[in-house]
Symmetry: C2
Subunit: 225 residues, 2 copies
DNA sequence: CAAATTTAAAAGTAATACTTTCATTTTAAT
DNA sequence: ATTAAAATGAAAGTATTACTTTTAAATTTG
């Protein structure tokens, strides 16, 4: 993606944060370095105290932006889904051929991200890494239903719906567009995780290029034809 | 499944526990009631203290069986995978037709379990519920690689490999048997979760019978044909 | 029945996840 | 440039958690 759109910012549902972290220097430092620190320590051992120390700030200051680390994680996850949505739209824009649109959509969602300068202070490559490791913990809580009502997952919903429409557009008689859309989006993350930590449960070789994308393209086009 | 085999017990890797919970009355009570309590409270709010109170025992006694709640969860998850493996083998045993074998395998893995008397003190229906909600938390830790080396996930591995062989047997030229096998096993759990908590992201109606099974059968057979 | 093992009760420790208070700095408005 | 408002930092405080230790009582086993 180009740096032309570098003034773009992704909008995250207000209820997720106390004070908008994109609105201040400290807030942006919190986002930038929390990704680094979560990657280093893992979500379990990551604390606001450690983060504050890392950015030469104070625990209580971090708490003024996010209620707790769970909410910070929800913020980062929303950011990630928003970014995927943006990629999806950008890459399929102005394309006529329905098969081509679906092909490009699958690539946008399943490819391994490289550092991308579009949104300045977020390192997309590193964010992808922590999403792969940690995202399901933020979903799978006792309070999902309540959090869902609060709109915490609205960006994910939009992403799934967008992809499902592209699927349905390609094959209008397919019965499971939403289910397949979910399967691709979440399955891609899961396969990344398995490929990293359970090599023997993966069919891919080190030399394969974007094997996860290839798997899902094969799966989807065979399934929809 | 019948109750004929009620004396069967599933073998769980030794390293997961300190003292085998299947070997004593207290141990079995720990397993039985931990499932209930995790379901009630969610894994986050579940503590050994609460569990001990529920079974009229003591915190320190529970710690003599499991190092911590993470290990208890790994035990329950291994038990679940072991149970799926058992179902898979039992249901496909003596069947000749390769397509039929694969069909039955998909059912065994993706169907919604009912209370099954095969293994006495474990409520399979309730276990399935907590696996759907919580299992990915036990996978996605900073220590996966180490835990993997310790053999904590060996039963999962066996299950994935078994299903992948059935897939490959049905279509020997298919390139991604392991990846597809993982996608089905983990995807089925994920779809259960979505169906429960994100109804609008699901194509299924309340009246559909075993829609998740149908989705995966459609996906796999279209993809392998 | 005696010895070995298991369990219960209670108290203790270190870390975590916040909260509160108050002083200081920064920013924004006139 | 002055002042009020807002944001930040430092430090101390609280409740809970996750686990450990010790000792005594109960249970099992040989």
């Amino acid at each position: 993606m180009s740096t032309i759109l570098s003034s773009l910012t992704l909008t995250i549902p207000e209820k997720i944060y106390i004070k908008d972290p994109q609105s201040s220097k400290l807030g942006r430092r919190i986002l930038e370095y929390s990704i680094q620190l979560i990657r280093q320590e893992g979500l379990e051992k990551f604390t606001f105290k450690k983060l504050a120390k890392k950015i030469n700030s104070n625990e209580s200051s971090v708490y003024r932006y996010f209620e707790n680390k769970h909410m910070l994680m929800l913020y980062l996850i929303s950011w990630y889904w928003g970014w995927l949505e943006y990629k999806l739209v950008f890459r399929t824009n102005n394309i006529e051929d329905k098969e081509d649109v679906l092909k490009r959509a699958i690539i946008a969602i399943t490819e391994t991200p490289r550092r991308d300068e579009t949104f300045g202070f977020i390192n997309e490559e590193e964010l992808h890494y922590i999403i792969v490791q940690e995202y399901s913990k933020a979903f799978h809580t006792k309070d999902v239903d309540e959090e869902n009502e609060n709109g915490y997952f609205i960006i994910y919903r939009r992403l799934v719906e967008r992809l499902s429409k592209i699927i349905l557009n390609y094959n209008p008689s397919y019965c499971y567009p939403l289910t397949l859309s979910n399967t691709v989006i979440q399955g891609a993350l899961k396969q990344n995780f398995l490929h990293q930590h359970f090599k023997h449960l993966s069919d891919f070789k080190e030399t394969d290029e974007e094997p996860i994308t290839k798997f899902f393209q094969n799966l989807i086009f065979n399934s929809l034809k």
